[in-house]
Amino acid sequence: MTTLSSKTAAPRSVSGWRSAQSKRAIITVLGWMVALVIFFPIFWMILTGFKTETAAIADPTLIFSPTLESYQAVHARSGYTRFALNSVAVAFGSTFFALLIAIPSAYAMAFLPTKRTKGTLLWMLSTKMLPSVGVLVPIYLIFRDVGLLDTRTGLIIIYTLMNLPIVVWMLYTFFKDMPKDILEAGRMDGASTLQEVFFLLLPLTLPGIASTGLLSVILSWNEAFWSLNLTSSKAAPLTAYIASFSSPEGLFWAKLSAASTMAIAPILILGWMTQKQMVRGLTFGAVK
C-alpha cells in the first residue's frame, strides 16, 4: 500500500529538491502524529488488557510485565464465549437472511428495471433513515407479547430488517456493474433464470456479495441500541456484555480492556479490509 517511489515532478535545482525533501519530512511526521493520536485510545486499551488490575490504574507507562491473567479471568468468570457466540450468531444470521432476501430484489432492479425501480430503491433507503428510537416502544411491546425479548431470533429479525436497505442497495450497484453480455450469452445458450443466477451472476459478483455481507456483519456486530434495549442476559451480544462493565462494581480496567480487545479485534480487521466498499454502502453511492 505504501508507495515509496518518488513520482513528484523532477527537482529543478538542489535547493528546490531540499525544500521538497523538508516538506515531505514535515508531512510524514504530521501524518503519523495525527494517526497515532487518533489510534492511541485503542492502542492503550490493547496494552491495558495485558496488565494486572493494579498496573492498569497505576501511572501510565509503556514498561510493564505483560500477563494474560485478565484474558483468563474474562473467559473463566464472566463467560465471554457465550456473549461472543451470541454476537456471531446474530451478526451472521442476520447477514444470511438479508442477503437471501436482497439478492432477488437487487437482481430484479438491475436486470429487469421498470418505471418504478428507482422509486422503490429510494423508498427502501428512506426506511433506513427512520430513527430506531422512534419505534422503540412498539417494537419492545410486540417483542414482549410474542416472547422475542432477549432472544437471538428477535435480534436477528431486527438486524436483518435494519440492514436490508443497505444490502439491497450495494448488491444493486454491484449487479449493475456486471457486463450484461455475459448474462445475455448464457440466456442464448438456454440457461434458465435460476441457472443464470447460480452459475453466472453469483460467481461473477462474488467479491461484491462478500463485501456487502461483510458490511452487514460489521454493522450488526457493532449495533448497540437494540441490543441494549431488547436483550438482558440470555441473548446479550458483546455490545451489551461490554456495557455491563459500566456499573461501579464492574470497574476492572484490565478485564474491561481484555474483553474489549477480543470484542473489537475481528471487526477491526474486517473493517480495514473493506474500507472502500464501506464508503459505497454507507453513502448510498452519493460519494464515488
Partner: protein, 296 residues
C-alpha cells in the same frame, strides 16, 4: 436483455414484482407497523404501571411532553451534541483528508490507524474513554495534565456534555475522513498542478479547488451524520445515564427513560413521533441527493 423484454412488458413486470416481493413486503411491514403503532400510542393514555387508565388522550401526551422542561433540555442537548460533533468531524475530517492525500512514507498504515475508531463498537469506545482516558485521577488525560503542571479535569462531573461530544466525535471523525478521502481521489490532479504553475499557494488551492470539489461529499457526510447523531444512545447509556441531572440527556435517551424506566408508553411515543419528524426533515434532503445521483 432487450429481447426478453420485447416479448412483453407485463411479463417482465410480473417477474420483477415477484422477485421484489419479499424485500418490499418486509420493509413495508417494518416501516408501517411500528410507525403506525407509535402514532396510535402517542394519542393514547397508556402506562404499563397503570393498566386501568387506558383510552383516547387526544393531544394530551404532546401537551404534557411539550410543556415538560425536560424535553426542551433534551432538545437543547441534542442540538449541542449534533452541532459540535458535526463541526469537529467535518472540519477535522476535511483537513485530515488533505493531509492523508499527500504522499508520505507509511501513508497506507497511517490511514488505516486513523480510520480505526469507526469500527469500534460504541460501548467499547465510551467505556475506554470514560475510564482509561478521562478518569480524574488514573486516566491518561489527567496524567498528561499533571505532568505539565495543570490541574486534572474531572471530565464527567464538570464537563459532562463535552465529554460525550469528545467520545462521539472520536468515533465519527474517521467516518468523515474515510468518505472525504474517497472523494479526494476523483480530484483532478492536472487542475491542481495548473493552479500551482500559475502561482497559487496551498491555501488558495485548498479554498478554490479542493473545497469546491468536496462540497457534495461534505454535504453527504453532514446529512448521514445528522441522522445517526440525532439518536446517539449507547455512549450516554454506559457513561452518564443522562446525568448529572439532565446534563447529558438527549432526545433518544429521554424517550428511553419515559418508555422503559417510567413505562409511560403514551408520552414516549409522542417523543418518538418528534424524533421521526426531525430525522425526516434531514432524510428528505439526503434522498433527493441520492436520487439526483441515480440519474447520472
Amino acid at each position: 436483455m432487450t429481447k426478453t423484454r420485447a416479448s412483453g412488458r407485463t411479463v417482465g413486470g410480473l417477474r420483477t414484482l415477484s422477485l421484489q416481493a419479499p424485500a418490499v413486503t418486509l420493509l413495508l411491514l417494518w416501516m408501517i407497523v411500528p410507525l403506525g403503532m407509535t402514532l396510535w400510542f402517542s394519542f393514547q393514555y397508556y402506562n404499563l404501571l397503570m393498566p386501568g387508565m387506558a383510552g383516547f388522550a387526544g393531544l394530551e401526551n404532546y401537551e404534557y411532553l411539550l410543556t415538560d422542561p425536560a424535553l426542551w433540555k433534551a432538545m437543547g442537548n441534542t442540538l449541542l451534541l449534533v452541532g459540535w460533533v458535526l463541526a469537529i468531524t467535518v472540519i477535522g475530517g476535511t483537513l485530515l483528508a488533505v493531509l492523508f492525500q499527500q504522499e508520505f512514507a507509511g501513508r497506507g498504515i497511517a490511514r488505516v490507524l486513523a480510520i480505526s475508531p469507526f469500527f469500534v463498537m460504541p460501548t467499547v469506545s465510551a467505556l475506554v474513554w470514560k475510564n482509561m482516558m478521562m478518569h480524574p485521577s488514573n486516566g491518561v488525560l489527567a496524567w498528561l495534565a499533571e505532568s505539565i503542571g495543570l490541574p486534572a479535569v474531572d471530565w464527567f462531573s464538570s464537563l459532562p456534555l463535552t465529554s460525550i461530544v469528545i467520545i462521539v466525535a472520536w468515533q465519527w471523525l474517521p467516518f468523515a475522513l474515510l468518505i472525504l478521502l474517497t472523494a479526494m481521489q476523483s480530484l483532478d490532479e492536472d487542475q491542481v498542478e495548473a493552479a500551482r504553475m500559475d502561482g497559487a499557494g496551498p491555501v488558495a488551492i485548498f479554498f478554490f479547488i479542493t473545497l469546491p470539489h468536496l462540497k457534495r461529499a461534505i454535504s453527504v457526510v453532514i446529512m448521514i451524520e445528522m441522522i445517526f447523531l440525532l439518536t446517539i444512545f449507547a455512549e450516554i447509556f454506559v457513561t452518564t445515564s443522562g446525568g448529572p441531572g439532565l446534563a447529558t440527556t438527549n432526545l433518544a435517551y429521554l424517550i428511553y427513560i419515559r418508555a422503559l424506566l417510567d413505562f409511560d408508553v403514551g408520552t414516549a411515543s409522542a417523543g418518538g413521533v418528534i424524533a421521526i419528524i426531525l430525522a425526516n426533515i434531514v432524510a428528505i434532503f439526503l434522498v433527493r441527493m441520492v436520487a439526483k445521483n441515480l440519474e447520472e
